[in-house]
Symmetry: C2
Subunit: 210 residues, 2 copies
DNA sequence: AGCATAATTCCTCACATGAGGAAAAATCTG
DNA sequence: CAGATTTTTCCTCATGTGAGGAATTATGCT
């Protein structure tokens, strides 16, 4: 964890043009958050890794939460928008469309953001407590609005269970063979489940319980 | 967070018989780990909450990892054993048996152990890296051994995705309505998925990808 | 009753963290 | 070119952490 003085100048003041401290900080943050977890990583450990002073990190990103947001690139993709688009179209293929959209999003981003964000959120009871509202409003809500009332919430919930489980196994944990299965194979196996949850027969006992 | 001197004596030495410091420490640990997350909770914060000195915590439980194990009551229930028992019997109802066993185990324990353990494990890249092996060996392995070779691993994986997703939604996140759905209703909705994953038709594209 | 053992606190140490602010150095602008 | 602005480090502070060990006090055993 020692800083290499060949990589880090010790004089105060502005660096010559062309050096991108912000990018180095963000890359270091992603690495630190991934390797140590958000809580155990510190602003100082990120700064050390980036080869800058902690004051520089603070200057650009303020506190650690904002550094996390920046490192995750939040705001660049909107899961809500992705869901909204996928949910449009015929209902008898909505399961597959949602799954493909999610797999594309996750595959594009790689496992890092999920591996950083999920434990960070789950470790904080206040953030964790916000997740149901967020999920219902932003992810499952647009789906439920396409379904007949009465079972819509339960059906969207069930879809959520399968999607989050797949996300966990494939991206967060890296469970094989599903972690390296081609997307088409995943869709072939899992989309029928999603479709049944959304539009298929739910046994009476499930519906009564809702 | 301040300690109440009416609850804590300040003299050194053994306490009169009848006071159970260990139980108080474990209860405090569970509360602290749940409310702050494992990493952010400290041995000192646990001790403060329990009304004892940090040295006492250290005396009984050594380091924080061992305190976590004790607080979670690890060793009292064996998921592996539960899976092994549920997997015995006719294959055409194994999905439901596994699900009932898991729901019982989770319901009995309440959300706390999962809310403590999951972020703790996922925040630590070394522990996280061990999860696939553990899951495959201890949970999914006994299931896969009951299935015909060739697709056994994929089928067990698929079952795992649904189970972990259900666990996340129902217990960790508290997503409604599934969080408060009666177990029978959950089984009615989800067991057919598990059964299909284990013994049902998997589309060709899924099987080829495995 | 006396001694050994067990349980608990107090003390100390080295180290780490987030945060604020001032000084220094490069760039930008008119 | 000079001054303003931007960027970066150094310095300081208050607070917290894990860990080791010795002193103290109650219990257990003979």
């Amino acid at each position: 964890m020692g800083e290499s003085s060949s990589e880090r100048t010790s004089r105060r003041g502005r660096r010559p043009a062309g050096q991108d401290a912000r990018a180095a900080i963000l890359a270091a943050a992603r690495a630190e958050f991934t390797e140590r977890g958000y809580v155990a990583a510190s602003v100082r450990s990120v700064a050390r890794r980036a080869g800058v002073d902690p004051g520089t990190v603070r200057h650009w990103y303020g506190d650690k939460a904002r550094l996390l947001s920046a490192a995750l690139g939040l705001g660049e993709i909107s899961p809500t928008e992705i869901v909204r688009q996928a949910v449009e179209g015929p209902l008898d293929t909505v399961g597959e469309r949602l799954l493909r959209a999610a797999l594309t999003m996750w595959d594009d981003a790689g496992p890092e953001p999920l591996r950083i964000a999920l434990p960070a959120v789950l470790s904080d009871p206040e953030l964790r407590a916000l997740m149901p509202q967020f999920l219902l409003a932003e992810i499952l809500g647009p789906i439920a609005r396409r379904l007949p009332p009465g079972e819509a919430a339960l059906r969207a919930n069930l879809l959520g269970t399968q999607m989050v489980g797949l996300m966990m196994a494939r991206y967060v944990v890296g469970l094989e063979p599903i972690a390296s299965l081609p997307a088409d194979a995943v869709v072939a196996a899992v989309a029928p489940t999603l479709q049944r949850y959304l539009t298929g027969e739910l046994p009476e006992a499930a519906a009564v319980g809702a």
